[in-house]
């Protein structure tokens, strides 16, 4: 193998190893992995089961909030959400019918919400304002109308 070939082999392997080390550290040490909650639920009995029998925004600790949310064609329940600036907000979500998605543009919050599965994502909103919440998984004829907002103040 030539000297130059050795060089690019070493450089390319190093790039891969460095990328994996950074992403691995983020995921396992800092808890920044992609949303991967494993809880399951009967999608036909969402309304009868806690916590989804009472969707809403709950203060669960100092500057900590929980948003228990159900997604269905073509709405988020609860609709208008309000949380204070800098609060840690955990979204606990499930779908009552088909596959939905949740995305808040301008943040890292972006995940699928599938029937039968409970999804959890935590997000801190450091900037006050109104954020758009939208479904980014095609869910039917009214998909484009499936959005709501979250007010941070």
């Amino acid at each position: 193998m030539g000297k130059l070939e050795e060089t690019w082999m070493i450089v390319s392997v190093s790039i891969l190893v460095i990328f994996m080390a950074i992403v691995g550290y983020q995921t396992f040490a800092l808890g920044m992995g992609p949303p991967s909650n494993k809880d399951i639920i009967d999608p036909q009995k969402v309304d009868e089961q806690a916590p989804f029998d009472e969707p809403g925004v709950f203060e669960v600790g100092e500057n900590k909030y929980e948003v228990v949310m159900t997604l269905e064609t073509f709405a988020f329940n609860p609709g208008d959400i309000e949380v204070p600036v800098g609060a840690e907000v955990e979204f606990i979500m499930t779908s009552k019918d088909v596959s939905h998605g949740i995305q808040i543009p301008g943040t890292n919050l972006n995940a699928m919400v599938l029937p039968g599965h409970i999804q959890r994502i935590t997000q801190v909103f450091n900037e006050p304002g109104e954020y758009l919440i939208l479904c980014n998984e095609y869910c039917g004829i009214g998909h484009q109308a499936m959005f709501t907002k979250i007010t941070v103040k």
Binding site: L4, E5, W8, V11, F19, T107, V124
Partner: protein, 43 residues
């Protein structure tokens, strides 16, 4: 014959190749840094 082939291969200059793979490497690294910074800015 086999050794002659090997020598021919060694005689080729790899400078053009390393220049092109380096450009690809820079593009990959810059894209990765871009996506990483975007993610960190939105935390």
């Amino acid at each position: 014959m086999a050794s002659a082939k090997k020598n021919t291969h060694q005689d080729h200059s790899a400078k053009g190749t390393i220049a092109s793979v380096s450009i690809v490497a820079i593009v990959i690294v810059l894209m990765w840094i871009g996506v990483f910074s975007l993610y960190m800015a939105r935390i």
